[in-house]
């Protein structure tokens, strides 16, 4: 009967071990995707062989011999052309061995030969078969490995190109089967069931498989929640590639950055801090790329095809402003990151010439301000390019007194609105500008409207317009949260309902000041990342040209406005503009103020961190700070807890040794029991101290515990005054404690 029971136990453990192998297989499967491992099937077969040998439980030398021979056989067939076990075969093997030993001694890991690496890997497989044999068969503890498998797969799925969709399902099924069988086998052992008949077994297995099948099907078919945490990969391996803004929409979380496709705006995004380019400039300012003119209700498109024309590199004129503007001639150097995926030139307002690779011919579309080169090679020379520009400042007087007669070609393009634009948008716009007389006043009213009326800057939880919904309408009236696209698009649309020509502009904010040394002292280097991608508004003033405005909460105006000395000021708002012109100096301390009160001066403060105004970059930094601090604290606390017996003992040893009262003896003895208990040597309550001491001594192979205990008994059961006893025994006690902890 016992034989039979053993046999059935062996069957169960073999089945569990088989599951162990299948799980281990899941560890090997991704290797050819994520590493340069070749001939994966050979390794899998070898692993299977090792597992198979282990389950047969041969004598250890036999199993080692078999595994070693097959290992050599694999090495031979994969790497060595000489006849197996011939003299030259051994020579090759020896050469490999000596070479790799040297390599290891010199720590030049990458020079190890494939043969050697394969041997190491095969040995690892061999060891794994032992480890899993121990876990699954001897200890009957399978959960840990199952958990590790899941962790492994999820990590691979997240951080590598390996797709673990099928692997997770397989692992789930195998784990459930393994745990089911394991619990049956445990039950059989516990209840000491000698023989289980087939009918009873079916009673076990049918529910097991029904549960596995149904949970798998339900799990597979049920809808999956979107990731609750943003994809962590960009934080680790951020690249500018595939970065895109409004690249198709949908509810999927996007990454910040510059993208071509703006036809469907909305949706949340995560901040991608990977750098795009570095710019050495005299003053920080926005970088323009292009504008778009056609609002569809969902996003922006171009109403006309790009009309790219060759222009003389030395004389590029985008004709955005009237010549009469006051300008400042400046130079900037722009250098792109190697992996930046940007095919258009970024430039500041007032661009006059681009100097870089002489062979590059730039193509300019005046309407949108798009500048390209053939195949984007303008940034491939590694040097970047130098830009000369006449940076404009806008006179408030000119803007206020500017005529409102727009040329036809302007109003044709830049007053376009979708036919089904909700009425309430224009009603709102009318309402906002009801007190304003001039175009400039109206524009400023609309620009500042978002600052006061409950609109908030958010990158998370930003809605995408649903069927029949208008992007601007949704933002203005329903959600009231969004990022630059929401603010700028809304401003453009509202202006257009007031017949003010406006367009939507894309580019980058000025970026973060970088540590790098600028080519000359006047210049400061800024690093512009995908997180600095931005959109804003340009409004047409007939006598001035296209003037940029910044409606997004927390951002300040991209250009300077000034007031001519002769001008009369009778408007509160313009009074503020005066201040703004004065405060064009860069000032770190402005950050908080300008974020809190968006009506404070424009100018190129450092604080523009692209898409994360309102302090949210600090927020996320501080969140990460908290997370790191929390993790450090948790790790520290758990380390302290895990090693508590070591340091608590050190402290207690000195404390108890100082004490000479009887109680100290008892406390010390009880602490020793506690330490031993912690080490898994628990005293049962029906065990006398002597019995327990004998058990401990047997394990420690000494008689210290018995000696100590016999002594302690005199205190405990003889009621002898024990202060001197204790001081005599404290050495022995300390030894015992140390021995228990070692």
């Amino acid at each position: 009967m016992d034989n039979l029971a053993q046999k059935s136990k062996a069957t169960y453990s073999s089945l569990i071990y088989l599951c162990g192998f299948l799980l281990f297989w899941e560890w090997l499967r991704p290797l050819d995707t994520i590493s340069d491992t070749g001939s994966l099937s050979v390794f899998v077969i070898y692993a299977a062989f090792c597992f198979f040998i282990s389950i047969l439980r041969p004598k250890w030398w036999l199993s080692s011999l078999l595994k070693l021979i097959s290992l050599l056989f694999i090495i031979d067939s994969l790497f060595i052309s000489e006849a197996m076990f011939s003299q030259s075969w051994f020579i090759v093997l020896k050469m490999h061995a000596t070479f790799n030993m040297e390599v290891i001694l010199n720590q030049q890991w990458y020079q190890m030969t494939p043969l050697f690496r394969s041997v190491l890997f095969l040995v690892l497989l061999w060891l794994m078969s032992y480890l899993l044999y121990y876990w699954f068969v001897v200890a009957n503890r399978i959960f840990l490995f199952i958990l590790l498998t899941f962790v492994y797969l999820t990590i691979l799925d997240t951080f590598t190109t390996y797709s673990a969709n099928a692997a997770i399902v397989r692992t789930f099924i195998i784990s459930l089967i393994a745990m089911g069988i394991s619990s049956i086998s445990k039950e059989i052992t516990r209840e000491a069931i000698k023989q289980v008949n087939v009918k009873k077994l079916a009673l076990w297995f049918i529910p097991l498989f029904v549960v596995i099948f149904s949970s798998t099907v339900i799990g597979y078919a049920s809808p999956k929640l979107n990731p609750q945490w943003p994809d962590p990969v960009p934080f680790f391996t951020s690249t500018a590639e595939h970065a895109g803004f409004g690249s198709g929409g949908g509810n999927a979380v996007q990454k910040s950055g510059y993208g071509e496709n703006d036809s469907r705006l909305g949706g949340s995004f995560v901040v991608d801090n990977s750098p795009v380019f570095q710019a050495a400039v005299n003053k920080s300012h926005y970088w323009r790329i292009e504008s778009k003119d056609l609002y569809t209700g969902l996003g922006w498109e171009r109403s006309t095809d790009l009309d790219l024309q060759e222009q003389d590199n030395d004389q590029i004129d985008l004709e955005m402003f009237n010549d009469s503007l006051e300008t400042e001639d400046l130079t900037a150097m722009v250098r792109f990151e190697d992996d930046a995926n940007l095919s258009k030139v970024v430039y500041p307002y007032g661009l006059t010439s681009i100097q870089g690779n002489q062979q590059v011919q730039y193509l300019v579309d005046r309407e949108t301000g798009t500048i390209e080169s053939e195949g984007g090679e303008f940034r491939d020379n590694g040097q970047g390019y130098q830009i000369n520009y006449s940076y404009p400042s806008f006179s408030l007087d000119k803007l206020i007194t500017s005529s409102e007669e727009d040329p036809e070609e302007i109003s044709d393009l830049y007053l376009q609105l979708p036919d089904d634009l909700p009425e309430r948008i224009s009603a709102l716009a009318e309402d906002v500008v009801v007190d304003d007389q001039t175009r400039y006043d109206m524009v400023k009213s609309i620009e500042s409207y978002f600052n006061r009326n409950g609109y908030n800057y958010e990158t998370n939880g930003v809605a995408v317009p649903e069927d029949g919904q208008d992007y601007v309408d949704q933002f203005l009236f329903d959600t009231k949260i969004g990022y630059c696209d929401n603010f700028s698009t809304s401003m453009v649309v509202m202006l257009r309902t007031l017949d003010i020509p406006a367009r939507w502009v894309k580019g980058f904010t000025s970026g973060q000041q970088a540590d790098e040394q600028a080519p000359n002292q006047d210049l400061t280097v800024y690093e512009v990342s995908n997180a600095n991608a931005h959109s804003w508004v340009e409004v047409y003033f007939p006598d001035v040209g296209w003037v940029p405005f910044e409606p997004t909460r927390g951002f300040s105006s991209p250009v300077d406005f000034y007031e001519e000395a002769s001008a009369t000021i009778d408007d509160e708002q313009e009074e503020e503009e005066t201040e703004e012109t004065e405060e064009t100096t860069e000032d770190e301390t402005e950050e908080e103020t300008s974020a809190a009160d968006p009506r404070v001066p424009p100018g190129f403060e450092d604080f523009e961190t692209g898409y994360t105004p309102n302090g949210s970059s600090q927020d996320s930094a501080s969140i990460w700070g908290w997370v790191v601090a929390g993790v450090v604290l948790a790790v520290g606390a758990s380390l302290l807890y895990l090693t508590r017996y070591r340091w608590v003992t050190r402290w207690l040893v000195s404390r108890y040794k100082k004490r000479h009262d009887a109680q100290a003896y008892q406390d010390a003895y009880e602490y020793l029991l506690k330490v031993l208990d912690h080490k898994g040597l628990k005293r049962n309550k029906d065990q006398t101290l002597r019995e327990y001491a004998r058990m401990i001594d047997k394990i420690f192979e000494s008689n210290e515990m018995s000696r100590f205990t016999h002594h302690y008994e005199r205190f405990l059961y003889r009621d002898e005054a024990s202060s001197e006893h204790w001081s005599k025994m404290s050495e022995l006690w300390e030894n015992l404690i140390k021995r228990s902890l070692s």
């Binding site: 009887a662 109680q663 008892q666 009880e670 309550k685 029906d686 065990q687 006398t688 101290l689 002597r690 019995e691 004998r694 008994e713 005199r714 205190f715 405990l716 059961y717 003889r718 009621d719």
Partner: protein, 323 residues
């Protein structure tokens, strides 16, 4: 049976010699010998329950001889009369007087063989002497000399024509033990030893009667701590609350356990009792003092089981309370 051998302590020098003496004659009977000594030193009596021929008589005889005591044996038969035990007054025609002839009970070490074969009347005459330390014959009370030690035997397999001892009388034995068969090696050695002359003839007294009485007095002085006493009480009261038990251990049982524990500590040259003593002795002292209820008997529960269970349940005292 081997629990004894686990206890590797020093023996009290005198008692150790006695045990050594017994060991010369008896093979592999350390435990029975030690327990007999425990009973002797605790001024109690032993009930030996075992099949014939395992050395009960030999044990008692060796014990008596080692202690320089007078050994008497009473073979209990159905027709034995109380006067056969206690003794009888006989008319002396010469002196014209009744003269008391003492029975075997007046010996120092008495073996009462197959005590359950005789009538209750005769049994009670023995048991009365054990308890009262005196016998009454023809209205005259005669005190028994010290030491006085009775080892009664009982055959567990033949029940026909027997008079099982009532509970009240079993209670008077401080402990009940079994001898058991020797193992093959021990039996082989026994054959070797007894092939020529029985070794009992070479046994010499190693302890005088006075020394024994002195030792008995010393045993009374062995210290027993409050928390060990509490342990005894907990054990005993636990027998009364056990589900399988119809009648638990009497307070006399507690006293017996304490006395035995003291003697056991004394044998191991210790002047204080530790819980180990109590735990070791509990099965020998307590099993014959409890009566199982009919369900437990029907389920095949034995008194040994019950005591074992209680020993697991009752916690060993390992703390001293400080005030």
């Amino acid at each position: 049976m081997d629990r004894m051998t686990q206890q590797t302590y020093l023996y009290n020098s005198k008692v150790g010699k006695v045990l050594k003496n017994i060991n010369k004659v008896m093979i592999g009977k350390d435990e029975a010998a030690t327990l007999s000594l425990v009973a002797l030193l605790a001024e109690g009596h032993v009930l030996l329950e075992d099949v014939p021929g395992v050395g009960k008589t030999m044990l008692v005889r060796t014990l008596a001889k080692s202690l320089d005591c007078e050994f008497k044996r009473i073979q209990f038969t159905p027709d034995l009369l109380p006067s056969d035990v206690t003794g009888v007054s006989i008319y002396n025609p010469k002196e014209l007087q009744f003269e008391f002839r003492g029975g075997p009970i007046l010996g120092d070490v008495v073996l009462a063989d197959e005590i359950n074969r005789t009538s209750p009347k005769t049994q009670s005459s023995l048991l009365e002497a054990m308890e009262e330390m005196s016998v009454t014959v023809d209205g005259k009370t005669i005190d028994l000399k010290k030491p006085f030690f009775v080892m009664a035997t009982q055959n567990p397999i033949e029940y026909e024509g027997t008079y099982p001892l009532p509970e009240a009388q079993l209670d008077r034995f401080i402990l009940k033990l079994k001898m058991g068969y020797p193992n093959p090696e021990q039996e082989l050695e026994m054959l070797d030893r007894t092939s020529k002359e029985h070794p009992i003839h070479q046994v010499e007294a190693v302890m005088s009667k006075d020394e024994l009485v002195e030792a008995q007095l010393q045993v009374r002085e062995v210290f027993i701590d409050q928390n060990v006493k509490q342990y005894i009480v907990q054990l005993v009261t636990a027998t009364r609350d056990h589900d399988s038990v119809y009648l638990g251990v009497s307070p006399r049982g507690s006293i017996a356990l304490m006395k035995a524990a003291k003697a056991y500590a004394y044998i191991h040259d210790r002047d204080y009792v530790i819980p180990d003593d109590v735990k070791y002795l509990a099965p020998f002292v307590l099993t014959h003092r409890i009566i199982l209820n009919s369900e437990a008997k029907f389920d095949g529960v034995s008194t040994d089981h019950v005591i074992e269970e209680l020993l697991e349940k009752v916690a060993i005292p390992v703390r001293r309370e400080f005030r």
